[in-house]
């Protein structure tokens, strides 16, 4: 299971957190169902946004492409 938290604070919103959220919704259902998404306010790294936390690890300057890579990586590890 992947536990994804997306920061929805002002800076992260301006730097594209909504695109990160939308990209999750576009994932194939088989991948999407493995992810629990939660919004949050501030990971205390506003100058490095958009920030997300995946299974407890914080990732900065996230993009939809980078997020999919990380999810695939974690998903692969989990499957192995």
């Amino acid at each position: 299971m992947i536990y994804l938290e997306i920061c929805l604070g002002t800076a992260c919103h301006l730097m594209g957190s909504e695109e990160i959220f939308s990209s999750i919704e576009k994932l194939p259902p088989s991948v999407r169902e493995k992810i629990t998404v939660r919004g949050m306010h501030c990971l205390n790294a506003c100058d490095q946004g958009p920030n997300v936390r995946i299974n407890g690890k914080v990732y900065h300057r996230m993009t939809p492409e980078k997020l999919i890579e990380v999810i695939e990586e974690i998903g692969g590890e989990a499957d192995a």
Binding site: L8, S17, F21, G39, N44
Partner: protein, 385 residues
């Protein structure tokens, strides 16, 4: 107890016309409210100009303190009369509600007023007395309203809907009343009443309105107080005091800002649950906290709420959306006393991002917000931390 009044309005323009020939102005003065409605003769731009001129003049006179009857007399003497039809080029209808919740409605040739009594869940058509006011015979209504009551004013285009098409004689006031009575259990907000009645009117006209149609709904409710906190204090030692003030406040409570919400959640030991719904992609999602009516993001949402309030001042209704900015604007509109507690701490990371991202100025935004709220007749107090 003086009741607060929520007003909503909406119009349909006659098919083929770009603008509606009905006009409306709302005047709030001290604890009184006046709604001026005019139906311009005919339709389109000419009718629109005549009715706008009528409501603007009447609203100006009323806002300057001219008594109701003298205002009606002045306008009646001023309005030009159509030589062919012998009618005034625009009608004049004024609804006045005072601080004792007494209503007076002076009406010139328009459908009767509908009153929905909250307690009995009954809708009634009120009958006005024929009185000579300002040299003209007008319907004069005088009655009182109670908490939860809703008043509905319609222009003649509403009961005429369906004439010669779906219904031979239109649905008339009887049809409209049947509909209102049927909808009573499911509708409450004035915006909903306006939208629903206009929607049925549009359908009865087969999507091609044969006349301008306007609906105004006014709801009387208990006055509300609201406390809004936004931004952590510059001096961290004041966090505790701000949170305690917020906790003990009796009324609606709103937090604008993620850092502020985190601060309150930590100090008051409450859970903060962020929603993930984007009703409007330009407005960050809201959050939930026990004992708080609304939690939103900060400066972006506040600026969007300011845009929504400007629309309301310009005569628009709030859209039935549930993004943070619309919900914030609604909270502010539905409160009479507003206490703003604004922190001035600057997020150092925001400062670091300044060359790349321009953040709207918080102090400037709240200055503008206070100005708008005062124009909406609110009592506003602002305290900086």
């Amino acid at each position: 107890m003086r009741l607060a009044l929520d007003v909503s309005q909406g119009s349909l323009a006659k098919q083929g016309e770009e603008i509606c020939g009905d006009s409306l102005e709302i005047v709030r003065k001290n604890d009184e409210m006046m709604v001026v409605l005019s139906d311009g003769l005919g339709s389109g731009v000419k009718a629109g100009i005549l009715s706008t001129m009528t409501v603007k003049m009447a609203a100006k006179l009323l806002s300057r303190g001219l008594p109701l009857e003298e205002t009606v007399e002045t306008i009646n003497k001023t309005l030009p009369i159509c030589k062919v039809r012998g009618l005034a080029y625009a009608t004049l209808n004024i609804l006045y509600i005072n601080e004792k919740n007494e209503v007076r409605f002076i009406q010139d040739d328009a459908p009767p007023l509908i009153l929905i009594k909250h307690r009995s869940k009954q809708a009634i058509i009120l009958e006005g007395q024929k009185n000579i006011i300002g040299g003209k015979e007008m319907s004069d209504y005088q009655f009182g309203i109670d908490e939860g009551d809703i008043l509905i004013i319609v222009s003649d285009g509403v009961p005429h809907a369906g004439v010669g098409a779906i219904l031979e004689l239109g649905w008339g006031m009887q049809g409209l009343m049947k509909y209102v009575q049927k909808q009573l259990p499911s509708l409450d907000e004035p915006e909903e009443w306006v939208e629903e009645i206009l929607e049925v009117t549009r359908i009865l006209y087969s999507e091609e309105p044969g006349d301008d149609a306007t609906v105004v709904a006014i709801r009387a409710r208990k006055p509300r107080s609201l406390m809004l906190v936004s931004g952590p204090p510059k001096d961290q030692a004041k966090d505790e005091k701000l949170c305690k003030t917020f906790q003990s406040f009796e009324g609606r409570k709103v937090i604008c800002g993620g850092a502020t919400a985190n601060m309150v959640a930590k100090k008051l030991q409450r859970n903060l649950e962020t929603e993930l719904e984007y009703s409007d992609p330009s407005v960050p999602p809201t959050a939930k906290m026990e004992g708080v009516n609304l939690v939103t993001e900060g400066i972006l949402t506040i600026n969007k709420a300011i845009e929504r309030l400007k629309g309301v001042l310009g005569g628009e209704n709030l859209k039935p959306k549930d993004d943070g900015a619309t919900l914030l604007a609604k909270e502010l509109i539905q409160s009479e006393e507003i206490f703003l507690h604004i922190g001035t701490a600057i997020n150092p990371a925001h400062k670091a991002l300044a060359p790349a991202i321009t953040y709207p100025d918080r102090i400037q935004a709240f200055g503008e917000l206070v100005h708008l709220l005062e124009r909406l007749g609110k009592k506003v107090e602002i305290q900086w931390y």
